[in-house]
């Protein structure tokens, strides 16, 4: 089955300059291609969801934004990704600086084996914040921002590994916002959480949208339709459809998208 060619020009989000722009991005792991000529624009201070079946390349695309693919041997990339207008794929790009501006939350919560406080303070410390008062302030603000403060304020210096799964994931979000990024990438953040914890994280995302640009990869189409403003459907390394979430879910332009969101395959 050959999917139809993707839309050649990224649809311009209404009313805002895109913060991230992907142009004809191709990526392969060794000889195995993973992304084919993807172009899209991520609107500022909105939630963009990537959906699609397993192995369709949505996580790979997400990991291009903060260059996490650098860690994989034998990755080859063509095309371009622009962040605030400048390319981020070149060797001259300061990757650590980029990752400070584009934070990430992973599929499986991965708190450091340290105290809750140290987990949140880790990023600011790495980026040079040394004063205790300032760190205390950042930790409190970030934990409040992740709606975790009231639950953990009395045990900041206990191990982060003693928290529940949902709390750990929100701690990872707090850790990500502690360094004040501009974009937060979320790679299936709720796939290991129960519905209650998932609801909390989703509420949190809607709250975070006011300050950050969010890009979320999800398997869960209800989640995409609940939280996102824009949705991209990827299939076999190609962008099939990208548009406003309500349009994509109600009136998909492509047959494949319709099949997928109605559960006929995937």
């Amino acid at each position: 089955m050959t999917p139809p060619p993707p839309p050649s020009a990224p649809p311009a989000p209404a009313g805002a300059e895109p913060i991230l722009a992907v142009e004809q991005l191709e990526l392969s792991y060794g000889s195995a291609p993973a992304l084919h000529g993807i172009s899209l624009a991520i609107p500022r201070r909105q939630i963009t969801a990537f959906i699609g079946p397993s192995g369709c390349g949505k996580s790979t695309l997400l990991r291009c934004f903060n260059r996490m693919n650098d860690l994989v041997d034998g990755v080859r990339i063509k095309g371009d990704v622009r962040f605030e207008g400048s390319s981020i794929l070149g060797p001259e790009v300061e990757v650590n600086e980029l990752r400070k501006r584009i934070g990430m939350v992973f599929q499986k919560s991965n708190p450091f084996p340290k105290s809750i406080y140290e987990n949140v303070a880790y990023g600011p410390r790495v980026h040079g914040v040394k004063r205790t008062a300032e760190l205390d302030d950042i930790v409190e603000k970030s934990l409040r921002g992740a709606a975790l403060w009231d639950e953990v304020k009395d045990r900041l210096h206990e191990s982060a590994l003693g928290m529940s799964g949902g709390q750990q994931q929100r701690l990872c979000i707090a850790r990500a916002i502690a360094i004040e990024p501009e974009v937060i990438l979320l790679d299936e953040p709720c796939s290991a959480l129960d519905p209650v914890a998932t609801a909390k994280v989703e509420d949190l995302m809607l709250e975070l949208k006011k300050r950050f640009t969010l890009v979320i990869v999800t398997h869960n189409m209800q989640q995409a339709s609940r939280v996102s403003d824009w949705t991209a459907f990827l299939y076999m390394g190609r962008l099939i459809e990208f548009g406003r979430t309500e349009e994509l879910f109600v009136k998909p332009r492509e047959k494949q998208t319709e099949d997928y969101i109605t559960g006929r395959f995937g």
């Binding site: 903060n66 860690l71 990752r99 934070g103 991965n110 990023g123 590994l161 003693g162």
Partner: protein, 562 residues
């Protein structure tokens, strides 16, 4: 699947499947019994060994009663009964029951020739436990068994008969104070003067090597001469004081009677303790037992290691293992970090890893020889030439010493640390590393702040194994600085306080020396057990410290709140 363990009898009966016999054979119950049996057997062996060592080692310090024997041939003995066994005399008729013999520690080595004698029970005519039987621990010639008769100072009679015993105890207490005073002078001022004289000799030699101008040389020589004269005077004064203290110690003498009636005179200054074991209660003996164990741990050895304590050996072992740990941790951890985190995993790194693993299997004496050639002669010799030319040809670092021994053992144990650290590093999940990198941390920051702390328990496991191995290692140390007797500790009050070039004693070698190099093996056998016990306890103690540290690290961030 059927469980390998039979269901409890109270459970509802389960209908056996049609092929039950075949499956029962295959369900592995026999294997479980075999495994459990093997484990139990191993544990039993270890426990039995520990019990044997502890019983014999701790029993050595217990004061037994003194028994006097009168034998058929008129001989009289006074001693402690140590063993009783059947034996087969040369002309023994096969049908009759074997006779008993007992082993008696008669002490009085200078009179009897040997500490222990065997006597046949059927030869004993009379057997008694006289209340006034004496047990002396002496600084020379081992123990003394006999009866106190008189106490003299020079020609003057101090006490005799029943009054002699309390008087003797008093004299022993004052002699102990005098001995301490003597030791203070010898170790303190006298040692300082000797140290200064040694330094002076080196200064003279340095002057020769410097070869300065004539007037400068004359000035410095005059200075040195003046200092030497002063030191010589001090030395003479101290020698006189020491001679006086010695004479004082010699002046009081106890007249004692041996079991066979011979009278002997013993200088009270040479008596360390005096006991009347047959008058002591069990509680007294228990106190005495504890005191002796304590003394064993903190005293200097006497009589070519066959008596006294083991303190220098204990101290040397602990210090050496400590230095070894300090050396091996950075070496092993850094090597493992490079191997696991930075190097490209290819055939070369695989070869290096195999080589490291094989290094752990190299016989330890080979490391000793390498240490001798590389550290002692190579590095030590170079240090001597560069920094201590005035002491040559006497070697300072170019001879075996505690530092070289520690480094040799560090080389020996570094593979263990590398392997354990690598495993610890490999166990840190990739997700945690990615989490750190995604926050903008560099690879080094990630390793330093996240990976290393998380791998710390693994590293400590390596250190624990290294300590366990190093504290039991003897062979390589014999050629890089371990000696039979080194009463001076590597740490003292002379600058620079820690003397890494000094030779040291080690419990492992002490064990060998006491057990197999001493003239009277029978007498020192219990010491072997006692020393072995101390060595075992030491190894266990060092491991417990390291394990506690590791567990604290582990529990600090484990999910303890849940």
């Amino acid at each position: 699947m059927n469980s390998p363990i039979a269901p409890p009898p109270t459970a509802a009966p389960v209908r056996a499947p049609a092929d039950a016999p075949a499956r029962r054979r295959g369900n592995g119950r026999a294997l479980i019994w075999l495994c459990g049996g093997a484990l139990a057997f191993n544990l039993l062996l270890v426990l039995a060994q520990l019990a044997l060592i502890a019983w014999n080692g701790l029993g050595y310090f217990w004061q037994r009663d003194l028994v006097s024997f009168e034998l058929g041939d008129g001989r009289r003995l006074l001693g402690e009964v140590h063993a009783r066994e059947h034996f087969r005399p040369a002309d023994h008729p096969a049908a009759e029951e074997l006779p008993w013999r007992i082993q008696v520690k008669v002490a009085n080595r200078e009179h009897t020739g040997a500490d222990f004698v065997w006597i046949e029970e059927r030869e004993i005519v009379r057997r008694a436990e006289p209340a006034d039987a004496l047990h002396f621990e002496r600084s020379e010639w081992g123990n003394f068994h006999g009866f106190l008769r008189e106490l003299h100072r020079g020609e003057q009679l101090l006490a005799s008969g029943d009054a002699a015993w309390p008087a003797l105890l008093e004299q022993i207490a004052s002699a102990e104070r005098q001995r301490e005073a003597l030791l203070d002078v010898e170790k303190g001022p006298l040692g300082d003067v000797q140290y200064a004289l040694d330094a002076l000799r080196l200064d003279r030699r340095r002057l020769e090597l410097d070869a300065p101008a004539a007037d400068e040389r004359a000035r410095r020589t005059a200075e040195l001469d003046a200092r030497e004269k002063q030191l010589d005077q001090e030395f003479a004064g101290l020698s006189e004081r020491i001679a006086g203290l010695r004479a004082e110690l010699e002046s009081v003498r106890a007249t004692c009677e041996l079991a066979d009636g011979t009278r002997v005179e013993l200088p009270v200054g040479g008596l360390l303790t005096a006991l009347r074991p047959n008058e002591m209660s069990t509680f007294d003996k228990l106190l005495c037992w504890g005191g002796r164990i304590f003394g064993f741990l903190v005293d200097q050895p006497r009589e070519a290691n066959t008596e006294g304590g083991i303190f220098p050996a204990l101290f040397g072992t602990v210090l050496m293992v400590f230095l070894m740990s300090v050396a091996v941790v950075p070496l092993g951890v850094l090597a493992a970090l490079y191997l696991r985190e930075y190097s490209r995993q290819g055939p070369l790194v695989r070869c290096v890893r195999i080589a490291v693993n094989n290094l752990a299997g190299v016989p330890s004496i080979v490391f000793g020889i390498f240490g001798l050639g590389f550290f002692v002669y190579g590095i030590g010799g170079t240090i001597d030439e560069l920094f201590f030319p005035e002491a040559l040809p006497r070697a300072t670092f170019g001879t075996g010493g505690i530092l070289w021994a520690a480094l040799t053992l560090a080389l020996l144990t570094v593979p263990v640390v590398i392997v354990a650290t690598e495993e610890g590093l490999a166990a840190v999940p990739r997700a945690v590393r990615e989490g750190s990198l995604a926050l903008g941390a560099t690879k080094f920051e990630t390793i330093w702040r996240v990976v290393l702390p998380a791998a710390a328990p693994g590293m400590l496991t390596g250190v624990i194994l290294a300590i366990a191995r190093a504290s039991g290692e003897v062979a390589p140390l014999m050629i890089v600085g371990m000696v039979k007797l080194a009463p001076a500790l590597p740490i003292d009050h002379h600058f620079p306080f820690v003397h890494f070039d000094q030779k040291f004693m080690h419990l492992g070698f002490h064990l060998f020396d006491v057990g197999f190099q001493s003239p009277d093996v029978e007498a020192t056998k219990p010491l072997v057990f006692a020393t072995a016990l101390v060595l075992l306890v030491l190894v266990v103690a060092m491991n417990v410290v390291a394990i506690t540290l590791r567990n604290r690290l582990k529990s600090r961030y484990a999910g303890s709140a849940l």
